[in-house]
Symmetry: C2
């Protein structure tokens, strides 16, 4: 029963630039950065409304095999073709987790800045895989928000992709 983050950030800790675009992320030849292997180990994905709508906005095939839990107080329905694949939830992080666990999903991919931040506030992130892109964006959507206590992690391993991207894997101590 673990909550995982798998995300890319700029050197200055942004997961999207100020226009919420992702075009600073490397796309060519970089491979999947271990994403396929990671996602195989996951039971379901938890994301906020903003990430969900960003993915919907990409159009084309729905990219996820895993069940998606979207945290939103405002969304009432999901597109019909996704009704088997997407569940809307609201409540506290702990309530949401209880609901998801009750449905039989235990290893969760926590995605999106706000959602990761809310889980970190309750010390509910067990593993962090952070890929650092060698750019200082200057502004944008930050991965981390202010917390009332510090959280120690243990470094498991670091991989370098194309001598450009640094991916470090941490587990909560």
């Amino acid at each position: 029963m673990k909550n995982h983050v798998f995300i890319a950030t700029s050197l200055d800790g942004y997961i999207a630039d100020i226009e919420e675009k992702l075009d600073w992320l490397p796309t060519s030849d970089v491979g999947d950065l271990g994403y396929e292997k990671f996602i195989e180990s996951i039971d379901a994905i938890v994301m906020g409304k903003m990430t969900f709508e960003t993915v919907l906005g990409f159009g084309g095939e729905w990219p996820y095999d895993k069940h998606i839990f979207v945290l939103s107080t405002s969304l009432k329905t999901v597109p019909e073709k996704l009704q088997e694949k997407v569940t809307l939830l609201k409540g506290t992080v702990q309530e949401i987790l209880n609901t998801i666990h009750t449905k039989g999903f235990y290893n969760l991919y926590i995605d999106g800045g706000k959602t990761v931040q809310n889980f970190l506030k309750d010390d509910l992130i067990d593993e962090l895989r952070i890929t650092t892109i060698p750019v200082v964006l200057g502004d944008g959507i930050p991965l981390f928000d202010v917390l009332s206590t510090s959280l120690e992690f243990k470094h498991l391993k670091t991989e370098i992709f194309l001598n450009e991207l640094v991916q470090s894997h941490y587990v909560r101590k």
Copy 2:
């Protein structure tokens, strides 16, 4: 003629915690993280008043062999025993750099959050060596500040110390 940053940050990008303490930095057995080799390649160190006063506050032997330029509009004098070793400067970043270059110092270690931020705002940082400590501090003094444009870097290499600290070396593209 290059400006270098050599600094440690938390996973959430802080160089000191909210009380400006550094006790979350690893101290035991970690070695110098390449600091000696780095500092040998440097002609002088540029720091802000806050970093200068922090180092003064440590007491004991003055820790630097290299000449120190302290950027401050308020400091008028330095302790007498440091008058050969420390020069106070004020002005814009470019004025300060011109003064330092005129004195024959070209490869500079730019230290301290505010000073690094001011150099980044003028795109005057050539190399970044950032050591990431596996802790989410939650709050503190950030390494990076908002910039009006993004800055691309090239990853040169990453070293892992004690399977705990991840040090990446970047150069400006």
